[in-house]
Symmetry: C2
């Protein structure tokens, strides 16, 4: 890159000290009681020389980079890319920039990303943490770097976080299926210890119990993050062909999309033979032969609240941690239908 004009350059240009220019550029002419005349002169010179401050130098001096590190499982997943968009917008409004990384639900990758971002002195983290990474989050907290968890969270970890009430959202979805006359309700979830997923399973089981429907272990199909397609092809297929259930509840949009492909390939009628409900959203939900009923999380709220919490903590490091519960509502459409 060609030599850029520095603060010193503009100072020299009008024979004045760098300090003056710095004050003026940062709108501190009042505190420093710079004369109006001088302010004008400096502003003109800066514009003339097309001065743009070097934020790296500023960061080094100030110890703050105005950068937020965002770590999600996969930025190409629409759930996360939509949140990323909101975070980016909100951050920009406040003068922050966001760098991002995808962990692939892999603790080691997440740890690498945290290290890389730490090394670049991000002012704060927003993380949808992978399984078994509570120590990583604790380490960030120990360094007194702000972090807010989104989507996922850890029991007993005192940290800012933003997520829905997974238990209730799940329970409501299953209630809807029961209400529509379904008794043989399966669930496709991820095989993970992550609490948000446990809560979704717990909500499912709780409603079965409440409605006196026996929980059948083999109807709670668990797919691993790494081998999701394979697990859907074998484990889920096992209860779809021949069809043993009359309703299926998907714990995420990625599971739903994989499941819907299996369902349509097998020619299963939805909702006739099988009612379905999913978590999250997908463009595909509108176009499935039976528009899919889903639990809608407000991605806008998640992104906004995450940035809000980050900024609050940046301004007041010692305030106590907050958990923001974001709204989730069931968008009822044809796929959960009440006719067998």
């Amino acid at each position: 890159m060609d030599k850029k004009t520095s603060l010193k350059d503009v100072a020299n240009h009008i024979g004045v000290s760098a300090a003056l220019v710095s004050y003026v550029m940062n709108g501190k002419e009042r505190e420093a009681r710079v004369s109006e005349e001088m302010v004008k002169k400096i502003k003109i010179a800066a514009a003339e020389l097309n001065y743009q401050p070097n934020l790296i130098a500023k960061s080094l001096k100030m110890g703050t980079t105005k950068t937020i590190g965002l770590i999600v499982a996969d930025i190409s997943n629409p759930f996360f890319s939509n949140i990323a968009r909101i975070i980016e917008d909100e951050a920009k409004k406040q003068g922050y920039v966001v760098i991002f990384g995808s962990s692939d639900e892999n603790a080691a990758k997440q740890s690498d990303l945290i290290d890389v971002f730490t090394t670049r002195l991000v002012d704060a983290f927003i993380i949808a943490p992978a399984m078994n990474t509570v120590d990583q989050i604790q380490q960030i907290l120990d360094k007194n770097v702000p972090v807010v968890l989104i989507d996922r969270f850890f029991p007993g970890l005192d940290v800012d976080c933003v997520h829905i009430d997974n238990y209730n959202a799940s329970a409501n979805a299953v209630k809807q299926l029961v209400k529509n006359g379904r008794k043989k309700i399966g669930m496709l979830a991820y095989d993970t210890t992550q609490l948000h997923m446990q809560e979704r399973k717990r909500g499912y089981k709780a409603i079965l119990k409440e409605r006196n429907i026996r929980f059948r272990k083999e109807w709670l199909v668990e797919a691993s993050y790494q081998e999701m397609d394979k697990d859907v092809a074998t484990k889920l297929a096992a209860i779809l062909q021949p069809l043993q259930i009359d309703a299926l509840f998907f714990a995420t949009n990625s599971l739903a999309v994989a499941g819907m492909k299996a369902i349509s390939k097998m020619g299963i009628r939805v909702p006739g033979e099988l009612a379905i409900i999913s978590f999250d959203e997908s463009e595909a939900f509108d176009f499935f032969y039976s528009p899919v009923t889903y639990v809608s999380q407000s991605l806008t709220d998640i992104g906004r609240e995450a940035v809000r919490l980050v900024l609050q903590r940046l301004h007041n490091k010692s305030r106590k941690h907050h958990t923001v519960i974001v709204e989730a509502r069931l968008v009822v459409r044809e796929s959960c239908g009440n006719n067998l």
Copy 2:
């Protein structure tokens, strides 16, 4: 943030100069001929003190931030978020980090993002440029900062870029429709001067001409980026109800999704009454009642090549500019069917 241990700290810890530690931490012990013993001592001390270099300080000194600025129209659009994921992965392999921003096809927003990223001294840009922003790109080039354009490009601008052959990709799609017996072929495109879109329209018109099908202006529907939904609802609807065409070609995935909603709401049979083909991909394409035929751009190639070009230029600023044409292939499925 708590005080981190600096290079000086580890130097002091073993009573040695900062220079030595710097050489060792950067693997330059050979060039600086540091004794093996010392190397070991330093490495142990660094590990003990959990030393992590401050990359901001390094950046200031080196004039390089190992950061790539990525600007796309909208990071939440799967087309871009998928490319972003690839870019992120490739960049990470090379020790780069990516900061991103969404321009919303708005020249002013793009300009802001370029300024913000410039101010943060990104080493290079990867941009899917908005309409009428050739000057912005030229300005980056004038500063001798590497930039590679993806997806879109400008006539006559000498710059690295990666995109498909839009003319041929479009022509092939329309040929397929003609081959399947369609004669009244409409197109839904964006109303923009951007060359990639012009090329798509040109391919469409060229095939009509070649096959002696009269081009009808009212069947080339143009939607504005800003009011896409409205334009689809009115302008596209005008040729769908009553149905005046027997095939419809969508210039992007976003247009397709909007158009497909209109089509399904109107109860138009696909491909029976109307054959459709789209550019790009969408999860929805698999689930439309007639799986959608589409022009598949290799997002992996776009992302990879973009990063490759960026790095090449970073290593050799003066090499001449390359345009990489990435493969596009037609994925033929039911929706472009040959039965009326």
